[in-house]
């Protein structure tokens, strides 16, 4: 799927995964794990090619690519005051919230009143709802307690079963195992099977 990616984090990085497959990337802080996800999402200038189901990324307008290959940063940004305004389909968001132990009423809160964990889970819902083909997740459970982490993993497992591919950065090796993800290690500008 991705080949010869070369940028600020080193490289070339090569990465391939099929429908419903997951890859978990570990590595020391600052090794460029986030930068690698951003390269796949085409958010930073870099070299290399990425394809999705045979379709070349370069032949696709960037916004269409990012709708199909959605990136969730470790500290997601918000651009409206209220949580609900970030969800074009409020009913769909409300339907998914209980599965992550979030009360639908949270949508009426302003973003700065929400806890870090609540914001992270809402951002995950925001990213999953449009049903992208690939999810690029940067430490999606980094700010969550064990209970919420288990709920997020269950939701991700459902997406995997539905055919979504997931590339995630994590510090938790057990998490990779629970999701049945192939483990890869990024260090000193090289990406290797772990």
């Amino acid at each position: 799927m991705a080949s010869g990616l070369r940028g600020a984090a080193g490289g070339p990085f090569d990465l391939a995964l099929g429908r419903g497959a997951a890859v978990a990337i570990t590595g020391p802080s600052g090794a460029g794990k986030s930068v690698l996800l951003r390269m796949i999402a085409d958010l930073d200038p870099h070299e290399g090619e990425v394809t999705l189901g045979g379709a070349d990324r370069a032949a696709m307008p960037a916004p269409s690519w990012r709708r199909r290959v959605a990136y969730l940063p470790a500290e997601p940004g918000w651009w409206h005051e209220r949580a609900a305004a970030h969800f074009p389909d409020r009913a769909a968001a409300e339907a998914m919230m209980p599965s992550l132990a979030l009360a639908p009423a949270l949508l009426d809160q302003t973003i700065h009143r929400l806890s870090t964990g609540e914001r992270m889970r809402l951002a995950l819902i925001r990213t999953i709802l449009p049903r992208p083909d690939v999810l690029l997740l940067d430490e999606p459970t980094g700010a969550l307690d064990p209970k919420a982490t288990a709920l997020v993993e269950a939701l991700l497992a459902l997406r995997l079963a539905a055919g979504t591919a997931i590339v995630m950065v994590t510090h938790d090796e057990a998490q990779a195992q629970r999701l049945g993800a192939q483990r890869m290690h990024l260090e000193a500008g090289r990406l290797n099977l772990a």
Partner: protein, 263 residues
């Protein structure tokens, strides 16, 4: 009524007020007297030079000379716009955005005014074109620098919010829209304030000058109203232009947010 021509002696009498200021600075320990005297001297010398230069240019009736002077004024204004913001776009982005914005605003409004409302003979007569371009430039400069500064600081502050939208497949244009709107608003507020306060709080400087120079107040007012409308047009074009030209430099063909181009 003919204008009362001022003699050098008249100007010297007025200059005594500057000396009073300087004296106050010395007595109160403001340490402003040097700067004050230098500024007053610069003001007199610069304006006198411009006065003689304009007299020469008006008499010369050479369109190329007129155009050359206006272009020089545009270049200086563009540089000022570029210098205001704390952040700089790489590869002379600030200069290009500033210059394009003030040039566009000045040429469009000045030519519009010369071709429709004022209609001197010929339409490019230096006596009309240069002062008109000057006042448009001054206001376009103000609007463009406010707008550019607002956009460049907002884009740094809102980086996470913009990228979150890009990551979900929103176009760069849509993600930037609220920031552009805010920047243009900032650039246009001063002219809105000036127009609403005109005549009530302030007598605009040009009008005051014209009345003192002997023009009837109503004739002076009509000129002032037209100028205000032209200025509103110029500030709008300059504010929109500066924000959009800068925004274009902040992205690339893949609709990324290129903050690496901002230093």
């Amino acid at each position: 009524m003919t204008p009362i021509d001022l003699t050098p002696a008249d100007l010297l009498i007025a200059a005594s007020l500057v000396l009073v200021d300087a004296l106050a600075s010395v007595l109160l320990g403001l340490r402003l007297h040097r700067q004050l005297l230098v500024a007053a001297a610069r003001c007199a010398v610069q304006l006198l030079l411009i006065g003689f230069l304009l007299r020469f240019v008006f008499a010369a009736e050479a369109p190329l000379l007129t155009l050359g002077i206006i272009l020089l004024m545009v270049a200086i204004a563009g540089r000022e716009v570029a210098a205001r913001p704390e952040r700089r776009l790489a590869r002379h982005g600030n200069q290009i955005a500033g210059l394009s914005a003030v040039a566009l605003a000045t040429f469009i409004t000045a030519i519009f005014a010369l071709a429709t409302a004022i209609r001197p003979e010929p339409w490019y007569a230096a006596r009309y074109a240069i002062p008109l371009a000057g006042i448009m430039l001054g206001n376009a400069l103000n609007a463009a620098s406010l707008s550019l500064d607002a956009l460049l600081s907002a884009v740094t502050r809102e980086r996470a919010a913009i990228e979150a939208q890009l990551a979900l497949g929103t176009s760069f244009r849509d993600a930037m829209r609220p920031l552009l709107r805010e920047a243009v608003r900032r650039g246009m507020l001063p002219i809105v304030n000036t127009m609403s306060a005109a005549g009530l709080v302030t007598l605009p400087g040009i009008m005051t000058g014209q009345i003192l120079a002997g023009l009837s107040p109503v004739a002076a007012v009509k000129y002032q109203i037209m100028l205000m409308f032209l200025l509103a047009g110029a500030t709008g074009i300059a504010a929109v232009g500066a924000a959009y030209f800068a925004a274009r430099r902040l992205t690339d063909g893949r609709e990324r947010l290129r903050l690496d181009r901002l230093h």
